[in-house]
């Protein structure tokens, strides 16, 4: 597991144990998980290893008719973490918005992760809903409708307030870097990286809600949804009988 994943998972666990905050798996994708970003949910997935959402290249605003922009997502609190990887060991909430964690091993003592949560304000969403309809001819929407995909909107994120370099305290590193792996081309990838720099404004975890499309250009984001709900009304998918060969 990468250091980045370690950190985002520990963060989600700390902020929202047994909740619906989804840790981001890949640092490279963080820009596609900002508020209003549209994501897809993997069709067949499990609670056991998560990774249920896949980024797209679009935001909700991209697929709406032109109009006024919504207000920026609101900041609902800052948090500060020290030695994130050890959060589970001695995590302790001092005051409602600050979490200080003492660690024993793992990240370097100097690593402190400062994060904030940003969420789409209900009023901003209501106004957007009133003012802007779906751009029904948008190619992305057309494609998604045709494929019968369910779309989700990122509504809340936890992001970094400052750039931070996290370092691993180096246990078990190096033990796989044996010549044996060279033919496999694994030398570089098996050696753990010892540090990762997370930029300012990097999304570490997020919450989504399902986008629902009614008719041609009406849309909504209900508060409660379940597995049987579909973004696009059923019965609109063309039923071609193509074969796909695996090999």
């Amino acid at each position: 597991m990468t250091m980045f994943e370690n950190v985002t998972r520990a963060l989600a666990r700390q902020l929202n144990p047994r909740g619906d905050l989804t840790p981001l798996d890949s640092l490279i994708d963080f820009k596609r998980f900002h508020p209003f970003c549209l994501v897809l949910r993997k069709r067949k997935s499990t609670l056991f290893w998560g990774a249920r959402y896949v980024h797209t290249d679009y935001t909700l605003l991209d697929v709406l008719e032109p109009g006024s922009s919504p207000s920026d997502p609101t900041d609902s609190g800052n948090f500060s973490f020290k030695n994130m990887l050890d959060a589970r060991v001695e995590g302790d909430v001092d005051v409602p918005k600050t979490v200080k964690v003492k660690g024993t091993a793992g990240l370097s003592r100097s690593s402190t992760l400062e994060v904030q949560t940003l969420s789409v304000a209900p009023t901003a969403l209501e106004n957007l809903h009133k003012e802007r309809k779906l751009s029904a001819d948008h190619p992305f929407l057309k494609e998604m409708r045709e494929r019968g995909e369910n779309l989700y909107v990122v509504m809340e994120v936890v992001e970094t307030l400052q750039e931070v370099t996290l370092e691993r305290a180096g246990k078990a590193e190096g033990c796989f870097s044996l010549p044996f792996f060279a033919p496999l081309g694994l030398q570089g990838s098996v050696n753990h990286k010892e540090a990762v720099t997370i930029p300012k404004g990097c999304v570490l975890a997020y919450r989504v809600r399902q986008l629902m499309v009614n008719g041609k250009d009406e849309w909504g984001i209900p508060h409660i949804c379940n597995d049987s709900m579909q973004t696009f009304p059923p019965g609109e998918k063309p039923g071609e009988g193509k074969f796909i060969l695996i090999q």
Partner: protein, 199 residues
């Protein structure tokens, strides 16, 4: 709507879930299983291609398209349940790093998947609900059948999922944050072992 977060289940639930899916794959004909194994062996280590296949299968299921496995003398048509199960395992395999995927192929060649599966299963069974990091003794006979190369291969494979095995003791370090990765590894190993059983 979002049910990602933390898992509330125990190892038994995971094992049953994986068994349900492997049973669907088991229903494939020997030719179908062999074809699937060949396909996967070629794709493991190429994460992007594996993800593309996952997406294609998802799309096919959504649209009700038929999917076949290339095989001789005749291509094998996949049932919806089989596609569902394959998709489940693709989800697990794509969680693993490319290096791990390559290590799986190597382990397949060396026929050490059963030992690796037993190792992962045994440690998860004991620690699944353990939410604190710790060092625990490892049953010595779990690794005793492996030679030096196989041991290194196994240490690397599980180590990259966060399960650090130390030969002295022997013992292993349990890190609860790595559980999702280990679950995915467990599922991946289960599938490959099943597919390679009769090949």
């Amino acid at each position: 709507a979002s049910d990602v977060g933390e898992m509330h289940e125990d190892f038994k639930t995971l094992k049953e879930e994986v068994q349900r899916e492997t049973q669907e794959v088991e229903k494939l004909s020997p030719v179908g299983r062999s074809s699937l194994l060949t396909s996967l062996s070629h794709l493991l280590g190429k994460k992007k291609e594996l993800q593309d296949l996952e997406q294609t299968l998802e799309g096919a299921l959504d649209k009700g398209h038929e999917v076949t496995l290339e095989a001789l003398p005749k291509d094998v048509l996949l049932s919806k349940d089989a596609m569902d199960a394959i998709l489940y395992f693709l989800g697990a395999l794509t969680v693993l790093s490319e290096a791990q995927q390559k290590l799986l192929v190597k382990s397949l060649e060396k026929k050490i998947l059963p030992v690796q599966l037993k190792l992962v299963e045994s440690t998860m069974e004991k620690n699944f609900l353990q939410d604190k990091e710790g060092v625990f003794p490892l049953q010595p006979d779990l690794l005793s059948s492996l030679g030096e190369e196989e041991l290194i291969l196994t240490e690397a494979l599980v180590g990259l999922s966060g399960l650090e095995v130390q030969r002295s003791g022997p013992q292993y370090t349990w890190d609860p944050d790595t559980l999702p990765h280990l679950c995915a590894l467990y599922a991946g190993l289960s599938l490959l072992q099943l597919l390679s059983k009769n090949s």
